[in-house]
Amino acid sequence: MRVELNGEQVETAAATLSELIEEQGLAAPSVATALNGEFVPRGMRDGTVLTDGARIEVLSPMQGG
């Protein structure tokens, strides 16, 4: 299955958002996630099933003004 992770096309075997985060080596406790423009709370990642073409954003704290 191909998904778009932070703007990059990614081939993944992950079925859920949690699995994708683990597969991609992202630091699960220190990121926030969105699927197709909607926020996915940390506790919902296990139950969030990915589909082909899904757009996922995984964001971290950054400098801001």
Binding site: N6, G7, L26, A27, S30, V31, A32, T33, A34, G37, E38, F39, P41, R42, E57, V58, L59, S60, P61, M62, Q63, G64, G65
Partner: protein
């Protein structure tokens, strides 16, 4: 002052564009700011270091929705920020134009309404428009953050008269001048005019010596606030001698 929090310092500092993390940390300390703005982005280099740095600063965090151009984007970003930073505070920016970075007032009110209803404590980046301010207050905002000038422009208070009117129109709503401040004198002016605080970033981050400039802004904001509390004298059209005439010698 700000949703039940009354900081000692009336300067809020942005954390972007500093030459190094160390300079950022030192600038935060020198500014005496207790509230710093942060953002969230796709993870790049130095992410972990930044997390440690903001924790070490001991400051209260005000996450922003910078770069969002629609209410939906801003709401989703705010929700992600709440989880990531563990705060209900959100500096709500919904940008309407790429060149001026001025807020989209309609999307701003829409996003503010959604976020306030969802338990957020919203700091909206707005213009000096009075009706827009009223709509934001109606939406549940207990702070308004009018711009001084376009973000990063360093022009100071471009619409000083309109800002003065805004201050008078919202006597009981905390007002923070957010964006456009380039020099300590401009920050002092805003404080003299009775604004409750000043939020700035670029003026410190892009100074020749950001740490010294942070100290300069701390002093300017304090001086301006003290002047406001003391009450400025009224301006006069003509000269009025300050030295008494009474008792003067007749020497002519």
């Amino acid at each position: 002052m700000f949703y039940g929090i009354t900081p000692k310092s009336r300067l809020m500092l942005g954390t972007a564009q500093y030459p190094s993390p160390r300079v950022l940390g030192d600038a935060i300390a020198a500014s005496e700011a207790e509230i710093i703005t942060v953002s969230l982005r796709r993870e790049g280099a130095g992410g972990a270091g930044f997390r440690d740095l903001i924790k070490a600063s001991g400051c209260r965090l005000l996450p922003n929705t910078a770069g969002c151009h629609s209410a939906r984007e801003a709401v989703t970003t705010a929700q992600m920020a709440r989880e990531l930073f563990g705060t209900n505070w959100i500096k709500l920016e919904v940008i309407g134009h790429a060149d001026t970075l001025q807020p989209d007032p309609f999307a701003l009110v829409e996003a503010a309404r959604i976020l306030c209803a969802d338990g957020f404590e919203v700091f909206p980046y707005t213009t000096e428009d009075l009706i827009l301010g009223e709509k934001l207050v109606e939406a549940g905002c207990q702070v308004l953050m009018p711009w001084g000038a376009p973000i990063g422009s360093g022009q100071g208070l471009r619409h000083e008269d309109a800002l003065r009117t805004m201050r008078a129109h919202f006597p009981d709503v905390p007002l923070v001048i957010d964006a456009g401040i380039g020099a300590p004198s401009q920050a002092a002016k805003a404080m003299e005019m009775g604004f409750d605080a000043v939020l700035l970033n670029t003026a410190v981050a892009k100074a020749g010596d950001p740490v010294t400039m942070a100290r300069a802004f701390a002093g300017a904001v304090q001086a301006g606030r003290l002047a406001h509390e003391a009450g400025l004298m009224g301006q006069r059209d003509m000269a009025v001698a300050s030295t008494p005439i009474f008792g003067m010698a007749a020497l002519s």
